[in-house]
Symmetry: C2
Subunit: 140 residues, 2 copies
């Protein structure tokens, strides 16, 4: 059998479900060791169990890693196919992180070529600043 055709099984295992459930319960990104300490009662006992689940969940697009924070957040779209074209806004004030799904942004970045003419397969974009509600609080 062709190894390339090898199935990336999207049926989640027990540990993968536990980790995904935990992440989905939180609006804000969560850290690996926070996940670990919160799911120990469910039987996950050691870091590799968490990191393996995280790896798989990232590969199949169920979660994304916020690279600037070493934290993890659930994907906000039903059937994510873009585990390697991601964009987020991060509020420095309230720490809210929102995934951005903007067709124009996607189009612009997916079509972008660098000065050598290379076009890239994926990207991660993280905006930093103040979210709308924190901005309004500050104004008043």
């Amino acid at each position: 059998m062709n190894k390339i055709m090898k199935n990336e099984n999207k049926v989640l295992s027990k540990n993968q479900k536990i980790v995904l459930d935990f992440i989905q319960k939180h609006k804000k990104p969560v850290k690996a060791y926070s996940i670990l300490s919160n799911v120990q009662k469910k039987g996950i006992k050691a870091p590799p169990q968490v990191y393996r689940a995280l790896d798989k969940l990232i590969r199949i697009g169920k979660i994304h890693k916020i690279e600037s924070q070493n934290s993890f957040i659930a994907c906000n779209t039903k059937h994510c196919t873009s585990s390697h074209t991601t964009a987020f806004s991060i509020c420095n004030t309230c720490d809210e992180v929102l995934e951005i799904n903007d067709p124009k942004l996607l189009e612009f970045l997916s079509g972008f070529k660098d000065s050598s003419g290379a076009q890239f397969a994926g990207y991660n974009l993280e905006f930093f600043g103040t979210c709308k509600s924190c901005e309004q609080i500050h104004e008043s």
Copy 2:
């Protein structure tokens, strides 16, 4: 004196120069502990000395952090004012990392507003894929 006007001194100290020199010698990004082990002969002995220098160099825009790699690369422009608006392309094959200075990209991202209407102060963008020369090698 107004704390906001407090001068961010751009004259580099001894350790800051040592660390910057090392980073500038390398085309590819370097890791903090690689810096440490390579500059120990110059008198830098412990991680905090490296990380403090890195922090300062990032603040003044002399270097940037590649977040997806926890590595550091020299800024490719003379008088960088955009330590918080950065973009890179990362080749998965040869590990080359190039800083992107594209006015159109800068304009697009600096002007971007998310779905709530928020506009952000900075961003970090990392493209992943294959650089032009690796692509050509693979074709042949």
